[in-house]
Symmetry: C2
Subunit: 353 residues, 2 copies
Amino acid sequence: MTDILELDTPCVLIDIDRVEANLARAQAYADAHGLRLRPHIKTHKLPRFAKRAMELGAVGITVQKLGEAEVFADAGVAPIFLPYNIIGAAKLARLRALHERIDISVTADSAETIEGLSRAFAASPRPLTVLVECDTGMGRCGVQSPEAALALAGKIANSPGLRFGGLMTYPAAGQVEANAKFLSSAKTLLTQVGLPPETISNGGTPDLWRAHEVEAATEHRPGTYIYMDRSQVARGVGGFEDCALTVLATVVSRPTPDRAIIDAGSKALTSDTLGMDGFGLIEAYPGAVITGLSEEHGTIDLSACAARPAIGEKLRIIPNHACVVSNLFDQVHLISGDHLVETVPVAARGRVD
Amino acid sequence: MTDILELDTPCVLIDIDRVEANLARAQAYADAHGLRLRPHIKTHKLPRFAKRAMELGAVGITVQKLGEAEVFADAGVAPIFLPYNIIGAAKLARLRALHERIDISVTADSAETIEGLSRAFAASPRPLTVLVECDTGMGRCGVQSPEAALALAGKIANSPGLRFGGLMTYPAAGQVEANAKFLSSAKTLLTQVGLPPETISNGGTPDLWRAHEVEAATEHRPGTYIYMDRSQVARGVGGFEDCALTVLATVVSRPTPDRAIIDAGSKALTSDTLGMDGFGLIEAYPGAVITGLSEEHGTIDLSACAARPAIGEKLRIIPNHACVVSNLFDQVHLISGDHLVETVPVAARGRVD
């Protein structure tokens, strides 16, 4: 058995026991509250974990790009929900091809998107299911009011080749009440006009354990929950003991007593801070602060540490944001305890379009 | 001929005419000042551009990872300078294998690194050239004083299998005088003890046009200069008209009059700000501000714009930091004017170790 400290660095370690516990915990929560779970694969990009989540009870998966949908469809994972405005001839053709072989649904937040989808699917033997994306506080995509959701739902329902599937939101973290209120209002309006939404899809890991407070929601789409990360721990969603993804790095320089340099920079950890101080938690030296990253170097301030790492020492780092780390590595090491189980390619890494 | 606006998004466009001009401008500057140029390939990761720089007069290339060295060696590009502390049995074995087939040199900033290199190369038929890395102000790797550089140079010179090659620094931007002073002092000390450094290697694009002020330096290692980017323009190194790398993105949503959402997020542009406000410059709408990125969405504030983009419109974006964008895409489109010339794989993308 290979000890993880024998692995070359920088590399990504995935603790499969923690993955299993995180998947099971969320599924048990969803089951207890009568919510369907439709996990987002952006965090891991690995068909095996999507399949495992579905074995535990998830009703399908969520992806963010057509390229991700293609990888997971090829791996036999479906149904797939792609909550994105699919625009332009090239992407619409790919969506048509996917729709011919698997169960796939999408979202729209504008008349333009709906008209494009309808043109592409008007001749399809089966209609495409389209949900209306709602901006319930995030300030990203989405219609701005329940009334606007109603208008777009009607447009979808009246568009050849399309079928109105319900509502979708990616909410702002912490704004549970506003999110719940928007979705309830929209549900009421839709029901009044004879378009009761069969699905109301809520998302995000930050408020995962409050998902049941969004009463109108029929399902939840958590992503980061499978690995957790430093920013989710800071939000109280879990503890460091739940974090399944770590970056293993080597100390390559100790230029001063207070400074260490590791071989993991922004190409391994990314510059995402998500509002955090520093670029990750070093498990063995929690007082150490990763103060800066260049592409291939991480700079660590050890001034608050009694014990300090030596050149050549390998360190496990919990990143601020796990999802973006998965996108930087061609492969990850699945581990159990301190031992390597298997090294697997990150099948949907780099699927940018 | 394919117009670039026919390309699916998000994608990376590389203007080959600007690349040629940027390479030629830097080589002419170096030639005028008697400096050798040893460009860093981290920015483009494409063997063809390394070869072109050498045709124009560059004396070799710089890489930051063994994996990058392997890709460029396979492509027939050498000599290769790898200014990094190579540590651990796995990496030392790879360095040995590279050294057997091409001209490669490395750096060290500690006795530990030198001892590891010496153990690995003691039985080598040809010695490995090792330069001493100096911290002349960057606060990253490197010895902290000219005296410490002298001590390590002596250790290299006395280590079996190794050959002292000189000094290397990656300086802090704007600290030209401090950098010049450190290197001159170290050169004097080394010359006094009979170890005159054959190479003194300076680096970086931010102070490229002041490289000649670092009088002791024999060579310069610019990286970003080939593509330029928004942060280099902000430093005055070039103009937007010199920026060769742009990200092409599509407007997928216009949820409010003041907001546009594009299909390029942190997976396309990265979260690197490099001290800049916003995450890139939208060429056609310079008053627009990319205020936030999630992985697959970029959020744009249009409130300062008179003209505003429509859903489906494609936008070219100059990123804050070009190098990190190259690492996110499996391929880039080489363009001339508004037309596609060729689509090429990013050969050394994702070479993390």
